[in-house]
Point group: C2
Chain length 293, copies 2
């Protein structure tokens, strides 16, 4: 069994990005700039946005965070998006989701100019990804593609089974894995809560991508010997034996499944570290105008 | 075996649409209006656009066709699209594809306002379909959903196998069949030219949707007893025994497969008649502002 070390791969990509930023700046360009809008005081969201800022700094990007109280009027968020849309010195904009209930999430996402939508959530980017045009691929699917590619995993002609049909993982992942490109060219099956013969289907997977949001859902009997297993889940479960009193687990029973898998991502340290790196890659593309020319 | 009679279902939908148009006009509204842009003299395209106009007339829609010679400058097409975008009396616009080589097809598609893109090819509509927002679903997938629904075929929890991964059939069909809605909730597998164990996969399908573009590709040994078979293909093959010297066949060997299927679409008269009807349904939605409010 080979561990797909997301932390290590993410670090390597950051080094590549930093080198590219240096090259750009040596030629007189300004650094890429990622802006984030953060509403309210959710500790997890604050941590996430702080990590983004830190990662930006690591690779030489500028970053800025627009913070608002939880009761900010929707209009103020839309105005801020409009203002950032017009700022030629900001390449990418992300809005930390979910927003408070009185703000229409989708309306805010659609207010972002597709050219700056480095989270890839705007319908234009989703549509372009689906059609196979150049686009910002959203962070998790993009990160998984990089993990597969950089781990030398062949995907063409393989049976890829995806557990979960969410807009941010399952659906885009299925489109990307079926496309006529590398990584891709897999025969793709998408399973979900209505799937009947689940273990039978997952057992036929050469590549199993699990994003079902249930801790330890995938057990060894559901996995084929030699399969590649990508675990997107991340859950905090109680663990009295640890100092903190909890530990992080994925959607996959790591111990038993890793004994059968040829490659597997750990949790933490697998898919997780790739998401911020994907965002950095998209912001670099935005700065270089690689997607929309 | 039950034949899924697309001609009959399409006719029934047209009656429903015509009744709705009458209701709208009785209340003083103008009829829905579909415009088409046609470039060059391709006989198949001309026939198709003529059929659309005739279908519009049948249900009480207005229709108009903007015809251009094959050497029309791209700008003139874009200007025409812009003009139709602004015309409040035109609800839907389709551009007959493919356009001549000197015109950028994608550029023209993206010039159409998503609100009038009743073909559902604009990235915004593709993206909205993928995310599960209200959208214009493109004609063939929309038609297939209607065939399934109106034939009383249960899709939830069923294994749906789709042959072909095109932007206009395979990909959107896969997203629609996996969504958490009826019809949908199927476990979806998409196969294509790189798929290895094809017959094994198709043999496990409760619902088999074939859009692979190869005459008679699917044979009885690839189909499970009692499967629902939807044949999207349409090919003109030589047939010296007929008066015309040719006949139309699908991607499925109809004779042998129909002996095993529980339901099957014939070619012609299956999926084909549904595509124009889907366009009419989308134009009606456009006129009633059901998608974009």
């Amino acid at each position: 069994m080979e561990l797909i070390d997301g932390k290590k791969i993410a670090a390597a990509i950051k080094v590549e990005i930093a080198a590219e930023v240096k090259r750009m700046m040596d030629k007189g360009a300004r650094p890429p700039h990622l802006a984030a809008i953060l509403v309210g005081e959710d500790p997890a969201s604050e941590t996430y946005v702080r990590n983004k800022s830190r990662s930006c700094k690591e690779v030489g990007f500028d970053s800025s965070t627009y913070k608002f109280p939880a009761d900010v009027p929707e209009k103020e968020i839309l105005d801020t998006v409009g203002f950032i849309n017009e700022d030629p010195d900001i390449d990418g904009l992300i809005v930390q989701l979910p927003l408070p209930a009185h703000i229409d999430n989708q309306k805010v996402i659609e207010a972002i100019r597709p050219e700056k939508d480095v989270d890839g959530f705007h319908p234009v980017n989703v549509g372009r990804t689906t059609i196979g045009l150049s686009s910002y691929v959203s962070a998790t699917p993009y990160g998984i593609l990089e993990l597969l590619m950089r781990s030398g995993i062949e995907t063409s002609g393989k049976n890829c089974v995806i557990l979960g049909r969410s807009n941010i993982v399952g659906k885009p992942m299925s489109i990307l894995m079926m496309r006529n490109e590398e990584p891709g060219n897999s025969t793709v099956t998408v399973c979900h809560s209505k799937t009947r013969n689940l273990a039978e289907i997952t057992s036929a997977a050469d590549i199993l991508i699990v994003a079902i949001g249930r801790p330890g859902f995938v057990t060894a009997d559901m996995v084929r010997e030699g399969a590649v297993v990508i675990d997107v889940g991340i859950h905090r479960v109680e663990a009295p034996e640890t100092k903190s009193g909890f530990r992080l687990v994925g959607d996959v029973q790591f111990e038993e499944v890793s004994a059968k898998a040829s490659h597997i991502t750990p949790v933490p340290g697998g898919v997780g570290p790739m998401t911020i790196v994907s965002l950095l890659m998209n912001t670099l593309k935005a700065c270089k105008k690689e997607i929309y020319g």
